[in-house]
Point group: C2
Chain length 233, copies 2
DNA sequence: GACTCCCTAGAGTATATACTCTAATAATAC
DNA sequence: GTATTATTAGAGTATATACTCTAGGGAGTC
């Protein structure tokens, strides 16, 4: 593999593991056992590395969210979109963590990310539209669908932050893809009230598969009777 | 005012304006025209300053989210909760921005924040329960209410990040409290499908007041026909 | 005046971090 | 083989940042 690609790969790996803020260019070079000079031969600066990684991320999600216009959507499609988006989120999970700071430091990235968000919101909205056409959910006004789509986006992009800050018992307890995908449960929760009678039960069954599991550690930690919120069932 | 309090006040101000990451203890001291030594006489380190600010934030939100158990909830109560929570979010807006990093650097804060989240989720859930009792929304199963509450929390705590990353046209364009409160529109969107016939119209009218306004600049920027998502109505 | 206690100044330090510069080596073209 | 280009090493640098240390001022008390 070319050094340039190795740098991108290692950077992504380290960013995901430790957070962009905690990974220096020297760390990346050391991790690859190359010199800092070598790294800076391939990339002008750290922002450039991050930008390249973003382009990959963008490409991946755009690929996933390509919506077929020649046929109706199915439940399988919907689940594929959800699974795929969370897979993408997982692979580039450092990105949404320090998003604000990353965008502050790079105009290009800021602009591109904004357009990326718009495309995603558009895609989500289109998916809902086609789901209504397919009779999976009740039709919604444009206005409601847009607002709903935005809420879906908010839940998707911030589910991980919630897990890392509010959920994980200790910083050592690292996140797993399985836990991340419990975000699908939350997204489907948004859809529940709109499901048609014909599909309601089927979707609820699918949703159940993603229901968050109580980590033993956490349950034991909380005083009896004080368990609250999403895990209190 | 005591120097200690001045430090807390200035820190909060600077953190909110520039982000915790971009504000050093030296900046804070300089901003107050005091010496670094003086600052460190009052606080052992930066984490301690942040922790103290968190305690204030926590106290404020706990105060806002105190739920009266001796009477039913009204629509006014609900709007008060929403307004208050977003006011709190605004006053301490630096906090959720760098949350993950802040928690990484302070065990105490991590633990406290987790309990704080649990209390908030509990409060949100209780509010929904009482709103159902008051006939504002249809009753929900415990499971659905918990999942809903968590979605409300996700939307509330991440609305600002969305505004700053995806919405604002330029980094120079600073956020206003009014824009932040458009998050209330998003939260009410979550409630829409559960509203009872008796209250539906009244809530929709309230919700309308928070509907995001299209900033002129933004509209002009986007190619015609490509406007998407939440602002495309 | 002298003592004490609280507060403050400001120079200084250890460490980190993004990035540069020069020289050398490997790969390729002719 | 030789010239050229692409790649790499590694020491080095400028700047920033969290934090320390010592000296001393001011106010109250006896």
């Amino acid at each position: 593999m070319k050094t340039r690609d190795k740098i991108l790969l290692s950077s992504l790996e380290l960013f995901n593991e430790r957070g962009e803020r905690n990974v220096t260019t020297n760390h990346i070079a050391a991790h690859l056992a190359i010199s800092p000079g070598n790294l800076y031969y391939h990339f002008r600066n750290k922002s450039d590395i991050i930008y390249e990684i973003f382009l990959e991320y963008e490409k991946l999600v755009d690929y996933y969210l390509d919506i077929p216009e020649d046929r109706p959507l199915t439940l399988d499609d919907m689940m594929f979109y959800l699974e795929s988006v969370f897979d993408g989120l997982w692979s580039y999970r450092f990105f949404h963590r320090d998003l604000e700071h990353l965008l502050d430091g790079d105009r290009r990235l800021r602009q591109d990310y904004r357009e990326f968000t718009d495309r995603c919101l558009d895609a989500i909205s289109r998916i809902f539209e086609k789901m209504a056409e397919a009779g999976i959910i009740e039709p919604q006004s444009d206005e409601l669908r847009s607002a709903m789509s935005l809420n879906v986006w908010l839940v998707i992009t911030n589910w991980m932050a919630f897990l890392k800050t509010a959920h994980a018992s200790e910083e050592s307890a690292n996140l797993t893809l399985t836990e991340l995908k419990q975000g699908i449960y939350q997204v489907l929760t948004l859809e529940v009230p709109y499901l048609t009678a014909a599909y309601r039960e089927r979707v609820l069954v699918l949703r159940e598969k993603y229901r968050p599991q109580l980590p033993e550690a956490r349950e034991a930690e909380l005083p009896v009777g004080k368990t609250v919120g999403w895990n209190a069932i």
